[in-house]
Structure formats: structure tokens, C-alpha cells
């Protein structure tokens, strides 16, 4: 099991190492292909102009919609009307730290239609998920790569993901304080309702992750962190599968934060042995010690890095594929007829959503499991040398 995990990690690391080469090699090919196509199809384009155009926009729409879903948002939109350019949902508060606190409610126009908002004499404009400080005309001063060059204030808005996080926090508090209350009068009280499902999960985290990896003596200190992370990730993953349209654990900022917490827990609880194994590996000749030192130091960072990438990539991939399969119902209408396309889309989406429920649990499990493994390696006593 451990060897499989190690080789998988190695494979992932190797793939990530190769990724820049692949992507940089691909870019010119694609652009050449594109230009070739534009040249060759220029004449044919006019013939199929109408149909091609509609299809292109449909595909683009699906792509943009999926991309948009995967991103964080300052406006909680449940439903968008493409023709009317309307988004139905509710506005979320924007909190900017820019010479003091600037708080205002976002709006559909601000987020989707490029409206400039004026607050305390400052003008703000929304551009590709970020808020920029502009002049009254909303000039972003785009450079040649279409990147704005104007200043960005620190944006601590309650975005869609923060709202999701708050919702998850409230649910966690409700669920687990209720579970804790059942034990108040006697530990022999059996939980009722939801607690009946939560208690085995708590025991699972303790007996399958914390205890075997950290050890019977020290595991208790890390239980609050491991339980928090496990249930937060699990709940957020599950919320991501509901029609609320949340994608919190598929957001890089969230997984980076979680991984940093694990990193801090590991390194702040590391004992002398742990640091000795990093900087001066015992039991190997001196030249090897020198060679191993940078590898081990790198290892300190790659471990949490693998955590954050794994969670992010799994959830993002899951959401992308589910969105793509839902889109089948719209894109394949002509080839499969409407009921056929809807049926195929429904079957595939249902299958994949069931799979995603498994992934939701699995990713929470893996993150917590590996966190406890890393903590365990930092606190264990090496008495076998």
C-alpha cells in the first residue's frame, strides 16, 4: 500500500516536472493549427457561416460556463440567461482594504457588465474575477497581453467560496456540537439522527488515520486538526456536488491554505529526530548526508505541495467532467435528438456524480491520512537506529 502510494507520488511529481515542457511544446502547434485553419476555411466559412457560428458559440458558452463555475465569484449566481445577459442569484458583500475598509454590495452589473463602482471617492472595476482600482472611466490600462496594469486593492470580499465556507462551518458547528451534546450526561449515550452517521466517521478518522500514523501516545493532540480538516474537506466536496454550484475545494487558494496548515503542524511538532533526518541523515556516510540534505529540505515542501495539488486537481477535474457531461444534453441535441442527448447526458452525469461522491470521501480521506502520516513522521521516536 505504502509502496504504491510512494510510486504514485513519484509518478505525479514526474508528470508535474514534465508539464511545462509539454505545455510549452504544445502552444506553437496549436497556434499554427489555428492559423492554418483560418486560412483554409476562410472560403468555406461563408457557406456554413450560420450553423458553424451557432455551434461555436454553444461550445464557447459551455467552456466559459464551466470555467466560470470552477472560479470564485463575487456574485452568487444560480442561473444565467444567455440571451438576455441576465444572471439570477444574489449579491455578495465586497470588502476591500484600500486606505481603510471599503465595504459595498456587489451587483450583477458590477460583476458581469463591467460597471464601475464608486466608493468614498475611489473607483473600482471588476475584470476576470479580480477587482481593480481605476479612474472614473474604469480604464484598466491593459498591456499587450490584455493584463491590467492598474493597482489591485486587497480583496477580502465574502465571495461565493467564502459564503460556501461559512455555510460549511455553520453546518459543521450544528452537526458536531449536537453530537458533543449527546455525550454530555453520559458517554454511554448513543447519538441519534445525524450523529449516528457522524460518530463512526469520527472513530474512522481516529482509528484509521490518527492512531496508526501518529501513535497511541501523541495522536490526541492532533485530533482537532485532523477532524476539522477531514470534515471540512468532506463537507465542502459534498456541497460541491449539490446544485448550490460551489467549488471550494477545487480552488487553489483553499487547498494552498489547507496544505500550509499541514506544513505548519508538521514542522512545528517536528522533534529533534525529525530535523536530524532532514539536515544530517543518520546512518549514512558523510557525502551522502550532504547529498540528502537538499533532497530532504525539498521533501519538506513537496509533501504539502502534493496535498494541495491532489485535492485541487481531483475536485476541479470532477467538476469539469460533470459540467461537460451535463453540456452533452445541449451540444449533442442535433446528432442524438433531444431525448437521446438528454438521456445520454443524464446517465453519464448520474454515473459520474456517484463516482464523485466516492471521490469526495476519498480526497478528504487522503488529505487527512497523509497529513497524519506527515505529522506522524515528524513526532515519532526513531529508536531503531
Amino acid at each position: 500500500m505504502v509502496t504504491i502510494k510512494k510510486s504514485l507520488q513519484l509518478l505525479t511529481a514526474a508528470l508535474f516536472a514534465l508539464m511545462p515542457l509539454v505545455s510549452s511544446a504544445e502552444t506553437p502547434v496549436v497556434s499554427a493549427h489555428d492559423s492554418l485553419q483560418t486560412v483554409t476555411t476562410e472560403t468555406a466559412h461563408e457557406v456554413h457561416a450560420e450553423g458553424q457560428h451557432a455551434e461555436e458559440t454553444d461550445k464557447e458558452f459551455v467552456h466559459n460556463f464551466t470555467q466560470h463555475h470552477l472560479m470564485d465569484d463575487h456574485f452568487y449566481s444560480f442561473y444565467a440567461d444567455k440571451e438576455a445577459h441576465r444572471h439570477y442569484g444574489f449579491a455578495l458583500p465586497v470588502i476591500l482594504i484600500d486606505n481603510g475598509l471599503k465595504v459595498f454590495m456587489s451587483s450583477e452589473d458590477f460583476v458581469y457588465n463591467g460597471k464601475v463602482v464608486e466608493k468614498d471617492g475611489q473607483h473600482y472595476k471588476y475584470h476576470h474575477g479580480k477587482i481593480y482600482k481605476t479612474n472614473a472611466e474604469g480604464d484598466l490600462k491593459l498591456d499587450e497581453h490584455h493584463h491590467p496594469t492598474v493597482e489591485k486593492p486587497f480583496d477580502a470580499s465574502i465571495t461565493k467560496n467564502v459564503a460556501g465556507l461559512l455555510l460549511a462551518t455553520i453546518l459543521l458547528f450544528l452537526g458536531f456540537t449536537a453530537l458533543a451534546r449527546t455525550y454530555k450526561s453520559s458517554p454511554n449515550n448513543l447519538p441519534k439522527g445525524l450523529g449516528r452517521a457522524l460518530e463512526p466517521l469520527v472513530i474512522y478518522v481516529r482509528d484509521e488515520m490518527a492512531r496508526p500514523n501518529i501513535g497511541d501516545k501523541k495522536y490526541k493532540k492532533y485530533m482537532p486538526y485532523l477532524l476539522s480538516v477531514f470534515f471540512l474537506i468532506f463537507l465542502l466536496n459534498l456541497l460541491g456536488l449539490t446544485p448550490l454550484g460551489l467549488n471550494v475545494t477545487g480552488n487553489i487558494s483553499v487547498t494552498v491554505c489547507l496544505a500550509i496548515f499541514t506544513f505548519l503542524y508538521v514542522n512545528f511538532s517536528g522533534n529533534a529526530d525529525y530535523w536530524k533526518h532532514i539536515f544530517w541523515m543518520p546512518g549514512v556516510p558523510v557525502p551522502m548526508k550532504i547529498v540528502l540534505m537538499p533532497i530532504e529540505i525539498l521533501g519538506m515542501f513537496t509533501k504539502p505541495f502534493s496535498l494541495l495539488i491532489r485535492l485541487f486537481a481531483n475536485i476541479t477535474a470532477g467538476h469539469s467532467v460533470v459540467m461537460g457531461l451535463i453540456a452533452v444534453a445541449f451540444l449533442m441535441k442535433e446528432t442524438l435528438s433531444t431525448p437521446g442527448a438528454v438521456g445520454v447526458s443524464f446517465l453519464l452525469t448520474t454515473f459520474l456524480t456517484v463516482l464523485e461522491i466516492l471521490v469526495a470521501f476519498l480526497q478528504a480521506f487522503i488529505f487527512t491520512m497523509l497529513s497524519s502520516l506527515f505529522i506522524g513522521s515528524a513526532v515519532q521516536e526513531h529508536d531503531h537506529h
Binding site: 508539464m19 511545462p20 472560479m71 470564485d72 470588502i95 476576470h128 474575477g129 479580480k130 486587497f154 480583496d155 477580502a156 470580499s157 465574502i158 465571495t159 467560496n161 467564502v162 465556507l165 461559512l166 462551518t169 459543521l172 458547528f173 458536531f176 456540537t177 453530537l179 458533543a180 455525550y183 454530555k184 458517554p187 454511554n188 460518530e199 469520527v202 472513530i203 481516529r206 490526541k220 485530533m223 482537532p224 486538526y225 477532524l227 476539522s228 480538516v229 471540512l232 480552488n251 487553489i252 487558494s253 483553499v254 494552498v256 491554505c257 489547507l258 500550509i260 496548515f261
Partner: protein, 166 residues
Amino acid sequence: MDKLIHDFSWGLFFWQAIILLVIIFLLGKFAWKPIVNALEAREEGIADALAAAENAKRELTNLKADNEKLLAEARAERDVMLKEAREMKDKMIAEAKEEAQAAGAQMIAQAQATIQSEKNAAVADIKNQVSTLSIDIAEKLLKGQLADKQAQEQLVGSLLNDIKLN
């Protein structure tokens, strides 16, 4: 990678950190610790109860064995007592029989002795009476026969003959 870096939002990172800290500390205080402690207490309680049950079972088995041992002992003792009683009874009967026999024999012997002596006495008495009678008869006869002188002489002569014969 560029896209990932562009997507990274410090605001969301900040909120995630705050919320995670809140969850770790507040839930830790109000939920995780009580839950983990309660589960541990319950498991300890279950382990203790199981151990107690095991002990009770073992004690019960011991008790049962003891009881059986006691019962077997009592049974053996009873058997011994019964045997002894039977033996005693037999012995007593035998003794009584012997005694009775001895007494009977003695009585018979005594009776026989008495009978014998009585018989002897009776015989002696009869002998005396016979001799007296015979003397009387003889006296009377003699008196009758010896009324004349001749008869007397005759008798003396016969008597003398008799004596000679002896």
C-alpha cells in the same frame, strides 16, 4: 501554472485561514475534545465491563466447580456413612444372633442339667419308694409266711441259699 497563479486569491486564502482556525479552536473546544473524550470513556467503559463480565464468568465457573466438588464430597461422605451404618447393622444383628444363640444354648444346657438332676432325683425317689414298697411287701409277706415256725426256718434256709449263691 500562470492561470493557477492568477486564480490564487489572497482574500479567499485569508478567509480560509480564519475559518479553519475558528473551526479547529472552537469546534476543538466544543465538539472534538468532548466527542473524542466521550468515545474514549465509552470504549474504556466497554472494555471494563467486558473484563468484569469475563471475571464474573470465571468466578461462576470456579463456583460451579467448587459446588460440584462439594457435592461429590458430600455424596462420598454419605456413601461412607451409609456403608458404615449398614456394616454396623449387620454386625449388631450378628452379635445379637450370637448372643441369642449362646443364651439359648445355655438355657438348653441348664434345662437339660435340671431335667437330668430332676430325673436322677425322681429315679432315686422311685428307687427308694420301690425299696420301701418291696420291704413293706416283703415284711408283709414275711409276716404272713413266718406265722409258723417251719416257714420261718424254710425262709432262713432259702435266704441263706441266696447268700451262698452270691
